[in-house]
Amino acid sequence: MTDTSAPTRQEIERWARRHGIEKLHPEHLDRMSELAVYVADLGRSLRRVASKDDRPAAIFRPLDGRHGQDGH
């Protein structure tokens, strides 16, 4: 069964530290716990493409080398 509860402050703090995000204030971590639920809901609710042959949209635009390749 899908767990839709918010992570605890300790869980989100551990997650953030694991990913190098260490300077958030306590109130930021509380907010991040709320956001974790929102983001998970959003990811679950996103329509899925049925065919595995359907590839992602291209991020970098081959017609213009200035996009992406140099950070813009």
Binding site: G20, K23, A36, G43, R55, P56
Partner: protein, 463 residues
């Protein structure tokens, strides 16, 4: 009767006056600087005004024109850019405490092109922090928020907030903004302007602070469709195979008789119906197009517009979190609420969901493209609401989120928002025109035809 101390209302008018010798660039720039001094305390369109540099550039423009070396219709015209554009000699804060004191060493490509066309850069315009936001205004950034010239208790639309305020107020003759999910077209909707995004890849993003690599696109905000065409003619990248096409400005003079126009109002999904005044103006606008000889055909977006928005809610935060990862790690306390919230959320997006969103995006883009290919252009809602009250969170968020703008960011089509009249409270109404990829000329031609047959460009806000 217009106040002669104010700048002309459009680039086209100003350019004609410059070429006829009825005004100089120095006079235009001085009037615009005086206008900034007179009204910008009310609307806060600028973060930085480059007074001396602008006058020096205007003097140079006058000397060149006096010597018969005109660079075209932008020569001597004062403009400004959103503060996520780089411009040499001006701070580039992107509206953030994180970048106070940052001085770029190169012009953004678009700034360089506009300067090369002789336009005079006045300064940097207000923006939501890093050119992004969630619709809310939290009054926690180093610069006060821009205010809507039609009603200074109202919001300008974001994230190109200062660009939306400056053009109707006359503190710039045109402005450059950037759009990820509506940030050019929302200020155009709220402030009664033309705001256009070209087909992605046709306007350079180099030197603009990235927000979302896969969706970012820059665009001008202008008073008229013809002005937008003039700016795009000077800035758009044309492959060699298209260099013999007529100018976009000439396209704005073409009739629309015989064009096949799709009318797309559904499905809105979980979004509400548009404000009554916007809906009424939309219907009236369709009659204008019909009277001009276009044929109208109902079409439906292939999926609810709110589902399109959901795709951008995954792509935008995830990419922003990647782009600005260092700032979230090192200086989260120096950000405003909206940016920090977005970066924290984006950090939590799973790669699996991000790729699912990009796959869904391509399905959406192909479906929209197939639909538009059967038409010369599509007319749709822009924002479903008029400009919200600044600081009234539910109104602010609804204005930003409840739009029909995001499908065309996802599908990579050129799209334009323009003014379709005014509400009983005097607030601008809007609609959106979309055309096939690469056909900016059609979008501008449609918008110009509508302008010619309606009186809305005769109204300016009183400040």
């Amino acid at each position: 009767m217009r106040d002669p101390s104010q700048p002309p209302r459009s680039i086209a008018d100003a350019s004609a006056a410059l070429m006829a010798g009825r005004v100089t660039s120095v006079e235009l720039v001085e009037r615009t600087l005086a206008r900034i001094n007179a009204v910008d305390d009310k609307i806060r369109s600028y973060i930085h005004v480059a007074h001396d540099r602008a006058l020096a550039d205007a003097r140079q423009a006058d000397e060149e024109m006096a010597a018969g070396a005109s660079r075209g219709p932008l020569h001597g015209i004062p403009f400004a850019v959103k503060d996520n554009y780089d411009a040499v000699g001006m701070p580039a804060t992107a509206g953030s405490a994180l970048r106070l004191g940052h001085m770029p060493v190169r012009d953004a490509d678009l700034v360089a092109k506009l300067r090369s066309a002789g336009a005079v850069l006045l300064g940097k315009l207000s923006t939501w922090e890093y050119g992004t936001g969630n619709g809310g205004e939290y009054f926690d950034l180093p610069f006060p928020p821009a205010r809507n010239p039609w009603d200074i208790t109202r919001f300008t639309g974001g994230s190109s907030t200062g660009a939306g305020a400056a053009v109707p107020a006359g503190t710039a003759m045109f402005a450059m903004g950037s759009d990820t999910t509506g940030s050019v077209r929302l200020p155009a909707a709220a402030c009664g302007l033309v705001g256009i995004i070209a087909t992605p890849g046709r306007l350079s993003l180099k030197g603009i602070l990235p927000n979302c690599y896969s969706l970012d696109v820059p665009g001008p905000l202008t008073w008229t469709a013809e002005d937008a065409a003039i700016v795009l003619d000077a800035t758009i990248d044309r492959p060699a195979s298209r260099r013999r096409e007529i100018s976009l400005r000439r396209a704005t003079g073409l009739p629309i008789r015989g064009l096949r126009i799709g009318v797309m109002c559904e499905p809105l999904g979980r979004f509400p119906a548009p404000d009554a005044a916007i809906a009424t103006a939309f219907e009236a606008g369709l009659k204008v197009l019909e009277a001009a000889g276009a044929s109208l055909h109902d079409v439906r977006l292939p999926l609810p517009v709110s589902d399109c928005f959901d795709v951008t809610r995954v792509l935008g935060p995830a990419e922003s979190a990647s782009i600005h990862e260092a700032e979230l790690r090192e200086r989260p306390q120096d950000m405003g609420f909206a940016l920090r919230d977005k970066l924290m959320a984006g950090s939590l997006v799973r790669a699996v969901d991000y790729i699912a969103a990009q796959r869904q995006r391509l399905v959406i883009a192909n479906a929209i493209d197939a639909l538009i290919r059967d038409h010369d252009a599509i007319v749709t809602w822009g924002s479903l609401h008029v400009a919200p009250r600044l600081g009234v969170e539910p109104e602010m968020t609804a204005f930003t989120v409840e739009t029909m703008l995001t499908p065309f960011n996802l599908s990579a089509h050129p799209a334009l928002v323009q003014c379709t009249g005014f509400s009983p409270d005097g607030l601008p109404l809007n609609w959106q025109i979309v055309a096939n990829r690469g056909d900016e000329a059609m979008v501008l031609r449609m918008a110009a035809a509508y302008e010619r047959d309606t009186p809305w460009r005769d109204h300016r806000p009183v400040l």
